[in-house]
């Protein structure tokens, strides 16, 4: 069973992403947050004894108030390496700004960069993406 975490401040996208995911993969486990802060709170809470609950895919919106997608990625680095090594992050954005794309490539646990909306093809892409073996480079 593929587990997905959806993070987007826009409720509409949470709804339609969940719907399309359910349509494509009826067995998918989906957990959703309308802010990165809420998502982190959940991860902090679950890391101790329920790490298995952690999704292997995170669909992360970039532009969000208070804490944006990149802030979230930075905070993720604080988690134990073995924990984040099991996660594939996919950036979801409505922006066409290339700087965001370049910035996203600095994170080894970001596997792909998608422009909204989430499509069936993207879900297939996500599902077929192999987990990489990576280490954090010093300074990151």
């Amino acid at each position: 069973m593929n587990k997905y975490m959806l993070i987007d401040d826009d409720d509409f996208f949470l709804i339609l992403n969940k719907d399309i995911l359910s349509l494509t993969d009826p067995d998918a486990g989906i957990i959703q947050f309308n802010s990165a802060i809420a998502a982190l709170e959940w991860m902090d809470k679950t890391i101790q004894d329920q790490e298995t609950e952690w999704p292997e895919n995170i669909l992360l919106d970039i532009r969000m108030p208070f804490m944006n997608g990149f802030d979230f990625l930075e905070r993720m680095k604080a988690y134990p390496l073995h924990a984040i090594q099991k996660i594939k992050v996919f950036m979801m954005t409505s922006s066409l700004d290339e700087r965001d794309f370049i910035k996203a490539q600095h994170y080894p646990f970001v596997y792909n960069y998608f422009t909204k909306p989430l499509t069936i093809e993207m879900i297939a892409d996500i599902a077929s993406t192999e987990m990489k073996d990576w280490k954090l480079e010093s300074g990151q």
Binding site: L16, R63, P65, T93, S94, S95, K116, T119
Partner: protein
């Protein structure tokens, strides 16, 4: 009685005795008479001798006086006549190096110079091979040559010589044919005295000669001294004008070389200098020889000189040379500068000038002196050219130049630009000090800068504050360099007024900062707007994709379609807000009376439906006078604040309210918006007026509303403040200027 006595006496034995005694007495008397006569004669002779020597003594006395040669010779002859009682006397004195001008004088007879000369020759012949002091006394035969000159019957002549000085004295005394009644031949006994006298004359003559020689030498020395003094003065009294000095050298060459005239010819520019005695008129001295010189100098002299100079052979003359032209002697000397001939000095020598080394030496010195002046002339020309050049640069440059003496701490030179820069005239400027040019507060810094400049640590001291005469401050970039003027090491400062540049630069910096801010805002704006505009659109695309799926229920379809509608509305709202922003930024302010009551009620009616729950509005306006401002902008401002209150109300409650209190004064309107909504957390309060900043996610929004409020207030002279507590509500207080006039 006598006769009687005679008779008586004749026969007396006494008589005989007496007669005998008488005769004896008679004889004795006679004898005495002879002795007496001899005595008288001897006495006379003695008297004469005494007379001679007395006269000689007189001669001595007179001869010792400072008398002319003519007077001396006359004295000699007169003395001869007197002493030796001759009718004629002749003296002839041969002095070496005087040639024909030997002293001759005849007394007692008139002879012309030629006759005197012949007489002189005759005398010399008489004594050929005879020793000095020989005396000859004789009566010449009628055929004797002397009788053709002088009617002489008897003569006594002697000749004495001084072998050292080679002076020969010939003295003659003679008796003429006239046959004076008292004539007697020259007595033998006078011969000794004659010889003595001739010796005496010789002695005096040698003395006179020596005295004369010494005096002449002394005079010559005096003249030479004067000449040397004159040369020295001429050499020393240099004029600042080299041409004048050259002219003087040319004049001097005539003086020093005893020339008639001189010419100095320059090869290149045909300038002729001639000695001054001929430069004015040629008839200064009217001798024919000098006329020729004048003609040569002024008419053909130039050609001659040119010919002399251009002649290759003559050009090779290293030293002055002599040459002949038109019977005149020319002393030429080529003038060289750096071994290159540039001219010739030619002096036309007087025929009597002895040719010796010293004239060449003098010519060399004069040529060298002229060469020095020529060199100086070139140097002066070059100097004046370069001076002119530097003056042009110094005065012409827009940079202010100040030259200071660091030792005495005074300004030495300032150019026009520096005067203009600081507002002082040159005289005022030179009395200033460094402290007068820079503000007291920065004097130390300025001195430090100058030190750094001097050490070469910096090339330019940037934007140094300076004080104008009118006390205004301006800024100058200053560079400096060490210069040496007249052996003093001075410091030149170059001032460039950068006040305007500084002002412009600051303006540019300021506008750059603004531009950067605007650019960053624009960038942020584009990023945000594209996101906010695209998001609903992309949502619609996603929803359409879902609708396309076949197994959708009607319920789901209805949900998606309403979501599409909501997305479209969101997009529209965003576009409207952007338009609001753009209107505020672009449109001119239109002042009109503002009806807050109507305005607020219309806005509230428009936005209240956002909330499904009930919201109440309470509006209190205290207004005695009209309020003037831009209605459209104020409308947008109030709409944004009220719609925020509605959107961020406490959800699920029915007691939400908005209280608005407005106070209008002649100066301003104060609007207080109070709600009991969700409030704003303290950490967001500083940033809520920033563009696209969203403090809450509880309702969709662009983050533009309050930013637009702030911008509007900026344009219509107002302010906005916030007082809020999370969970309790917010109070926005807006103050807007009343534009009554």
């Amino acid at each position: 009685m006598s006769s009687r006595n005679t008779h008586n006496l004749n026969n007396s034995p006494d008589y005989q005795e007496l007669k005998k005694k008488y005769d004896e007495l008679q004889l004795r008397v006679t004898r005495f008479s002879v002795i007496e006569q001899e005595l008288i004669h001897a006495r006379n002779q003695m008297d004469q001798e005494v007379m001679i020597y007395r006269q000689m003594q007189q001669f001595n006395t007179k001869a010792l006086e400072d008398i002319t040669d003519e007077f001396y010779t006359r004295l000699v002859t007169e003395t001869l006549l007197e002493i030796f009682e001759t009718e004629l006397a002749f003296v002839c004195i041969d002095i070496p190096n005087t040639g024909n001008s030997a002293l001759r004088h005849v007394e007692g007879y008139s002879l012309n110079e030629e006759q005197k000369f012949e007489l002189h020759l005759y005398m010399i012949n008489l004594f050929t091979d005879l020793p000095s002091g020989t005396l000859r006394s004789f009566e010449p035969r009628p055929s004797d040559k002397i009788r053709t000159i002088l009617p002489i019957r008897h003569l006594m002549v002697t000749q004495v010589r001084d072998p050292q000085l080679n002076i020969t004295i010939t003295l003659m005394g003679g008796i003429s044919d006239k046959g004076s009644p008292f004539y007697e031949p020259i007595r033998k006994d006078r011969e000794a005295a004659f010889t003595v006298f001739s010796q005496q004359v010789l002695t005096y003559q040698t003395n006179r000669f020596k005295t004369h020689t010494i005096r002449e030498q002394f005079n010559a020395l005096t003249i030479e001294q004067k000449r040397i003094t004159s040369i020295a003065e001429n050499f020393l009294n240099f004029d600042t004008n080299p041409d004048k000095n050259i002219q003087r050298m040319v004049d001097l060459s005539v003086q020093l070389l005893s020339g008639n005239c001189s010419v100095y010819e320059k090869l290149e520019n045909e300038l002729i200098f001639t000695s001054s005695s001929y430069s004015k008129d040629g008839y200064h001295n009217n001798t024919s020889e000098e006329k020729i010189c004048y003609r040569i100098t002024h008419l053909s002299g130039r050609d001659i000189v040119c010919q002399l100079i251009t002649n290759d052979l003559l050009q090779q003359h290293k030293s002055p040379w002599l040459s002949q032209f038109a019977g005149l002697t020319l002393l030429g000397s080529v003038l060289r500068i750096d071994k290159k001939p540039i001219g010739t000095l030619v002096v036309f020598l007087d025929s009597s000038v002895p040719i010796n080394d010293s004239i060449f030496q003098l010519a060399r010195i004069l040529t060298a002196a002229i060469a020095v002046e020529e060199r100086r002339k070139n140097a002066l020309k070059a100097l004046s050219e370069s001076e002119e050049k530097y003056r042009m640069i110094f005065e012409g440059t827009p940079n202010g130049i100040i030259v200071a003496d660091p030792v005495i701490q005074r300004f030495q030179y300032v150019n026009r630009s520096a005067c203009q820069l600081f507002g002082y005239n040159e005289e005022e400027f030179l009395n200033l000090t460094l402290d007068d040019l820079h503000p007291a507060a920065s004097t130390d810094d300025v001195k430090q800068l100058f030190k750094s400049l001097e050490k070469g640590e910096i090339k330019v001291a940037m934007e140094v504050p300076c004080i104008h005469k009118n006390r205004s401050i301006f800024y100058a970039d200053i560079s400096s360099s060490r210069i040496s003027i007249g052996g003093r090491s001075l410091l030149a400062g170059f001032f460039t007024d950068v006040t305007q540049q500084r002002f412009d630069q600051q303006a540019i910096l300021k506008s750059n900062i603004e531009l950067k801010k605007i650019n960053s805002e624009l960038d942020n704006f584009v990023y945000s707007v594209s996101h906010d505009l695209r998001s609903p659109l992309l949502a619609i695309l996603g929803l359409v994709q879902l609708i396309h799926q076949h197994q959708q229920s009607d319920e789901a379809m209805q949900k998606y379609i309403s979501m599409i509608a909501a997305s479209a509305t969101r997009m529209d709202d965003t576009i409207k807000e952007i338009l609001d922003y753009s209107r505020n930024a672009r449109l001119d302010i239109v002042v009109s009376p503002v009806d807050f009551n109507l305005l607020i009620r219309e806005i509230f009616e428009d936005v209240r439906h956002i909330s499904p729950e009930k919201i109440t509005l309470e509006l209190n306006i205290k207004q005695d006078i009209p309020f003037y401002s831009d209605s459209n902008r104020i409308s947008t401002l109030i709409k944004n604040i009220i719609s925020n209150s509605v959107k961020y109300r406490k959800k699920g409650v029915n007691n939400s309210y908005i209280n608005i209190n407005i106070l209008i004064t002649p100066e301003k309107a104060v609007l207080r918006f109070e709600d009991n909504g969700e409030g704003i957390e303290a950490i967001h309060q500083d940033r809520i007026f920033d563009m696209f900043y969203r403090a809450s996610n509880s309702a969709p929004g662009t983050g533009l509303g309050l930013y637009i409020c702030k911008e509007i207030l900026h344009n219509i002279n107002g302010t906005i403040t916030l007082d809020s507590a999370a969970g309790e509500g917010s109070v926005f207080t807006v103050t807007i200027k009343n534009k009554t006039n």
